[in-house]
Subunit: 595 residues, 2 copies
């Protein structure tokens, strides 16, 4: 069983959620907008409280079990841990799959910000179990956005109700990140009430939730190519179309989809991951969503949502590890304070190096959560082009930074536990293994870096960068007037100025000399963004009136973590940007034989 | 089964070993010294060739099996994987336990440098199996150095022959890093041919190799306290004495030692790790080694050897992952080169970001191996006080830097494999889990940092730093005259100058304001050391005559990795040192409630 803390639940404390949503991100104001008038703060708070409670009571208890008893493939298909099935059915009954959907589809029409905060609790409790609703909700939203009314009614609604689950089928064994090389083919096979019908054949790899015995049906969204008249598959990613391919067909018969094998992972083991064969017999029946050739564009909407979801999951894992390390450090008695002579041993939280590791985790985990929730807030306002542009720019950062530094936080959580943290008796070991996935799936860090620098900044990002610059500079200007934050403000502004100058310069030089440094640039960009958002958090903490029963220590902690990140982490930006600025070709010019 | 590479063995190539030992570290000169005249280069090369072959043929094949089938505790004691037992018995038969011991004890009297290079191959092949001889050899050496002739004959010699294995029993459940708090007690119980005899009672935690069914006996070296006349245990670490406590007593009966449980680890699973109860009945019989109260001092000799051993293991894991990623990157076809239009997909090694990740791994893994072998070379010359002082200074760096950056290399090896790297079908997943232990056991990174800064530099390290300064500056002076390395030279010199100034300053201020930054200082110190040693390696490569059939690409690769490390990694030093220089108290001053 999962450990419990003397200090209570290891999930995200409500004071943290309330601070981020209300004190910082202005959820009150959002709820006051006409489109959210059906909701009051009471209703939102009830969802947040329910999420914390249900995550702790139904997701958390099988965290270790789901790691020990991986999903198994038998002749009846994939079987998952019974506790996981029960937790997911309960999640559906509570209406949590539907929370973010419009009322006309049976949803609560909650702001994405609230849905995200709710999801973070479930991810903190059990990220592998939480992956099923994350994928299902993203799948359903894609059908709602691009599907026909009949498709929405028959394939999205059961997912919104949590009766059916969804997957996304993009990668193939020979084509992970390079979707242009997808070989799954969709041959025309008439039409019916769900639209143009096809028979699909091909192999899809890395399919999370590809089969399970929890939901009544599974809706696969499959990227495939429609062959030309001569039977050949057109080259390139513009030939990709998107298809709804259910496990069970509307007539109740089984579709032609076989689980060819399961991938056995380092962590995240509760989320079954499959190699699926479509069309081993006559071809799997599927219906096209939207127009031919629009598959990748449509799928990107789902991927972008999934990328922020991955970021939230990574941040939540980092947060949980921080909380568990914080609890352990208060309970574990060992060593004496330097210079205190032969007095009694102390709780290890009193050792300066342990405090450093805790504050680093706090800065990483709370910083990542803030970044992801900031993006969720942008989703709620993405009807404004300025916000949509900024969201597009920050999505690869939210995904990557949270994955990299959530993992770094988990690494430190192990270190605080010492040898115990390396054993499977403690959760931090599993949190670390789970989190290692997040910089790989939904686009590796390298892919995100190319997206940020190549697509978002150098191709069409001028306006997004202008928006970002305005917000960063405005934040620094405001912080400059606060004595406690003035120094932080000038450091962030200085890092931002260097970053902006680097982007300016990169726009002037051949892109081939720039892209080899995309990962390094992303590292620098991410740290500057998080520093800015820490400054935002610190200002929100400083703004809070001190006479309303607020937790002063908590608010001081926010200011401290801000200062720590800006003093001890932000200086790395200079080193990264100097490398980008130099555009050293040393790695790119290395020949294979020289390695 | 473990994957094999199209490019051959994933172990450390002989050209690498030969380059480090002969071209750089002057093994030829060492072998010319009178004490090594019994050895020729042929004999040494035969050992190196044998090690590579035996590691590949007997240690490598059960790498994954030993992870899947952990040691089990039954009523007959701990049972390990049969393949592991067979590999270790073969290792003993080949005389490899004895390799570093004097001829009078049945050894080959090989230089520690050669023994270390041999060990690195076994660690690369299977670090969990290699841990048994590493601990056994360190145990035997301690008895040889501090034990009586009878103790050496009866307890060290069977280990040197590889018939018995050894452990070190330091930690207890309540005392991991804080050995002053050890509670195991040793009550006087007469004397016999092995010296003063005691009965030990207590619990020892984290005992690697604490029980197994491979060797005929197990020699535990146990730290314990001799009670005062009133039965109380004296406080502090100066009260610790060291005891030989065999599993099977000289009369053939079982000693009073029980395996109370096994620790189930994230990785390194083949190395059984036990909680041992000494003296559940009458007390476990043991014999004191050396004088009362000398236990910790004696054990430190073993720990220092073990720390370099941990560094070599961590470097070897990093190296193996690098080799496997390099092989995979040449075989895996995916994606197209930017700007090349719709041409054919390429092997991923052609993507600049993959090259960056490979070169980073090369810089880390080869840098760590060089650092550890440099230390092994110092062991061979440690009769000179200057070398002994430098060895003491570099030991925490060799242990920590190799552990941290060996793991970072393994992280990148996974990333190059993409989703495949996260599955248990590929070795890189296990290498990463295995390597995560290395920054914990034999003293965590935090402990090493306090050792480096508190003990080695601020207390008694002036002379060691002077030696180091002379060597670093001399290296930079020589490199400055080489056009290809001049820029690198000035960067290393500049980083060194900053580092030395920081140490100067730290010596002037209260130590309590310094120690909170020990980890940050260690990070900076380690990077400067490795940059210096990369410059050494590059110069060795540049010195090689080009007309003797040498692999030019290999030598160019050394120069490239040197430049890469100094251009892209060394700049981090400035950021770390600025934090140390500021002596920010932000983490140390954070109250528990503020976290």
């Amino acid at each position: 069983m999962t450990e419990t803390l003397a200090s209570g639940s290891p999930l995200i404390p409500r004071r943290e959620v309330d601070f981020l949503l209300y004190d910082w991100l202005g959820l009150d104001g959002l709820l006051g907008e006409p489109r959210f008038l059906h909701l009051g703060r009471d209703a939102v708070d009830a969802v947040l409280a329910l999420s914390e409670q249900v995550a702790a009571e139904t997701f958390l208890p099988h965290y270790k079990l789901a790691d020990q008893y991986e999903p198994r493939l038998s002749s009846r298909g994939v079987e998952v841990l019974p506790e996981m099935g029960a937790a997911l059915r309960n999640y559906a009954q509570l209406g949590l799959f539907a929370a973010g959907f419009p009322e006309r589809l049976g949803g609560l029409d909650l702001p994405h910000l609230v849905v995200s905060a709710s999801f973070a609790q479930f991810a903190a409790a059990n990220v592998a179990t939480a992956a099923y609703p994350m994928l299902t909700v993203a799948n359903a939203r894609l059908i709602v956005n691009f599907g026909s009314p009949a498709q929405i009614e028959s394939f999205a609604r059961p997912q919104i109700e949590g009766r059916w689950f969804g997957t996304m089928c993009l990668s193939e064994p020979q084509a992970g990140s390079s979707l242009a090389d997808v070989r799954t083919r969709a041959a025309e096979a008439g039409a019916d009430q769900f639209g143009a019908r096809y028979r699909l054949t091909g192999h899809k790899m890395w399919i999370s939730g590809g089969d399970q015995n929890v939901s009544d049906n599974i809706v696969h969204l499959v990227l495939a190519k429609i062959p030309a008249e001569d039977g050949s598959l057109p080259a390139g990613s513009k030939a990709l179309s998107l298809f709804i391919v259910p496990k069970i067909l509307p007539d109740g018969s089984s579709n032609d989809i076989a689980v060819a094998g399961l991938n056995h992972k380092m962590g995240y083991r509760g989320t079954v991951n499959c190699l699926l064969n479509f069309g081993e017999k006559d071809g799997a029946l599927g219906w096209r969503v939207g127009e031919c050739g629009q598959g990748l564009r449509q799928m990107f909407q789902m991927m972008n949502e999934a990328r922020i979801g991955v970021g939230i999951g990574a941040a939540a894992l980092g947060y949980r590890g921080f909380r568990q390390a914080l609890g352990y450090a208060q309970e574990r008695i060992q060593g004496r304070l330097t210079g205190a002579g032969e007095t009694k041993p102390v709780a290890i939280i009193n050792h300066p190096d342990v405090k450093r590791m805790l504050l680093t985790q706090k800065a990483y985990a709370e910083g990542a959560l803030a970044l992801c929730l900031y993006c969720a807030r942008l989703v709620d306002e993405s009807a404004e082009p300025e916000n949509a542009a900024l969201l597009a720019l920050l999505t690869p950062v939210a995904k990557t930074w949270s994955s990299e530094y959530g993992l770094a936080a988990n690494d430190l959580a192990i270190q605080i536990h010492g040898g115990y943290g390396y054993t499977r008796d403690f959760d931090v070991e599993q949190l670390y293994r789970d989190n290692r996935l997040n910089s790989i799936h939904e686009g590796t860090t390298g892919i995100q870096a190319l997206d940020l620098l190549g697509r978002k900044l150098l191709h069409d990002g001028e306006s997004a960068l202008t928006v970002l610059a305005r917000r960063v500079v405005a934040c620094c200007d405001r912080a400059a007037t606060d004595d406690a934050l003035g120094d932080c403000s000038s450091r962030v502004l200085s890092a931002w100025t260097h970053l902006a100058a680097t982007v300016d310069e990169l726009r002037r030089v051949p892109i081939a000399s720039v892209l080899p440094h995309a990962s390094c640039f992303l590292a620098a960009f991410g740290h500057v963004i998080v520093a800015w958002l820490w400054l935002e958090q610190a200002m929100a903490a400083r703004r809070r009136p001190i006479d309303d029963g607020v937790d002063r220590d908590f608010l001081n902690g926010k200011v401290r973590a801000c200062r720590f990140f800006i003093e001890c982490e932000l200086p790395r930006v200079e080193a990264w940007l100097n490398i980008v600025d130099s555009r050293s070709n040393i790695a790119a010019a290395t020949s294979v034989a020289e390695f």
